[in-house]
Point group: C2
Chain length 380, copies 2
Amino acid sequence: MSGAARAPDEERIARVALNRLAEPGDPRMASVVGELGAVAVRDHLLSERDLQGLATDVAGRLAALDPVGDLERAARRGIRFVVPGDEEWPAGLDDLAAAEPLQGSGGPPLGLWVRGPLPLSELASSVAVVGSRSSSMYGVQVAGDLAAGIAREGHGVVSGAAFGIDVAAHRGALGAQGVTVAVLACGVDRAYPLSHRALLDHLADHFAVVAETPPGCAPTKLRFLSRNRLIAALSRGTVVVEAADRSGALNTASWASRLHRAVMGVPGPVTSEPSVGVHELLRSGAGTLVTRAADVLELVGSAGDHLVEPRRAPERPRDRLPRRDRQVLDAVPLVRPAPSDAIARTAGMGLVEVRSTLERLAARSLVLGSAEGWRLAPEP
Amino acid sequence: MSGAARAPDEERIARVALNRLAEPGDPRMASVVGELGAVAVRDHLLSERDLQGLATDVAGRLAALDPVGDLERAARRGIRFVVPGDEEWPAGLDDLAAAEPLQGSGGPPLGLWVRGPLPLSELASSVAVVGSRSSSMYGVQVAGDLAAGIAREGHGVVSGAAFGIDVAAHRGALGAQGVTVAVLACGVDRAYPLSHRALLDHLADHFAVVAETPPGCAPTKLRFLSRNRLIAALSRGTVVVEAADRSGALNTASWASRLHRAVMGVPGPVTSEPSVGVHELLRSGAGTLVTRAADVLELVGSAGDHLVEPRRAPERPRDRLPRRDRQVLDAVPLVRPAPSDAIARTAGMGLVEVRSTLERLAARSLVLGSAEGWRLAPEP
């Protein structure tokens, strides 16, 4: 961070304290800090007294915190606390200020704890690839391929760290030598689930592991819900690869929608339980169907960057023929030549018109004429 | 047809003749007959002379036709020619008059050759289920289940008679004791492919086999394209189950769209070639994703008839708790009771608030209090 713009330390310290006092994603805290600044809010809360003139519960808890020590301890472990005003503060997070809370979570984070060398601002063109823990082999394969394709085009990948789709997305991006970042519901020094410790360490060594929850803290259901809004806000669009009915991935998709980001879903067999939530997302019109990285990049890329070539079989000369010509051509045999009156009968057209049409088709090398009659020319 | 309203025989006979003269789906013929009536058009064409004063090619061919004989021969084989004005004429076909031609085909048919007892008007609430010949096992299974579900709800099924999805749809509807109708690109007395002879005979015995192409005539590429518009026009909506890139099923979907019918697609694995065309249809927004008969019927049913219950896991009491209550609940251990101050620390909340919240949660049987502290109540 040397030389880069930084927020004043006093504000950062106050944010560390308030971030520990409040739960991640408490929309009231975000709102009042956004209005008054963290220093003023902290000082106000510290001075609160109850009816007996005693420090309130909140004031007591706040006074007992050690935000300067928190920052120092974190720094020793390579963890920084990024706040608004820092050069790397991702502008996308500010969009959270205008979005309605969802299931009680909302607002921009007071700051983000980051472990890893990647400046968060480099996620500006990233794509979130999320999905079920209870994924299928199909989902894992598709998530990996998709993330690899996104990464190969120079877009970062953002996901959680859960089993299934999240990890498949990170692995796909890594395999394509791309940038990929995990956003956690616990402290960035923790691994949840534990078996992803090595993957998270690798991400922290090369890119970044991010959390709103302070270091040392455990994940809770609420923290997962609050975390999802960060995944959506940090990226330009969210792809749901597989999601059962109540999957958190659908919560992330709702956040992407609230933040006016692209919401995308990868379909799967309608017989597959892990695809039910994605199909519902697509059926309701809340998300756009994508099948490959090019589809995703068309939706999240800068205009014109990634225009998808619609998949089509190559056009053949006969496709552009006028209707009456095709009608004649349809009546010409493939192998055994037929005389023009037989072709006219088959085509249900007059002999005069059929003869002139056959001449025209021969000139375009679509039919071959001989003494025995006409047959189709072999396709080039 | 005894007692039912019928178009005048003269008009029917003229339509039989013009139907044999022109190719199915010739939009110019449909348009001029729609304007002047078939009798006037036939008489005009019969009187046409070329520059030498000779009957034109068209006039000659028309004069050589035997429409009365055609009708008699057809009737002997149980085949009728249904024209506008007949009581069973499906009103939906008239929508073709206002739709732009597509790949040279368009307009209402001059009439439909029908083999089978079902009055065509009974298809008014039917659904077209179409797809690739080169279908997968998955597609065949899904098409059959979907058609069965549609048929069970009293809606007819309309399809072609090709290998793959078409036949799977008919079989599914038959298995559910439903109504199902095949629309052919050849004469209704022919079987194409030949191996579907028994299925087509069964449909003709119980329901209907329909074609615009006169009896005896072979299918051509153009006739398939013209046939597709009839499948779309006869039904209230078209579901594409599997379709590769240039599948005729997508042509049927385009017709459904032109006719302001519901266009639907069943997704599949993105790795499956037969689903590529369906995914493109859904991705482009031209069709709505459906996964089951209930989804289809919601889109084609009369308003309110079939409202889909969104699939959701049952809501649990904790889902409706206010955010601060859930925050406390998240901090309560599952097995070993914890004292309220430990819970307050875990929740990151003040002790006073946590204590009153725990009492409230206990009153709702969400937590259990004891001398050792608090733990979660078992879910009911």
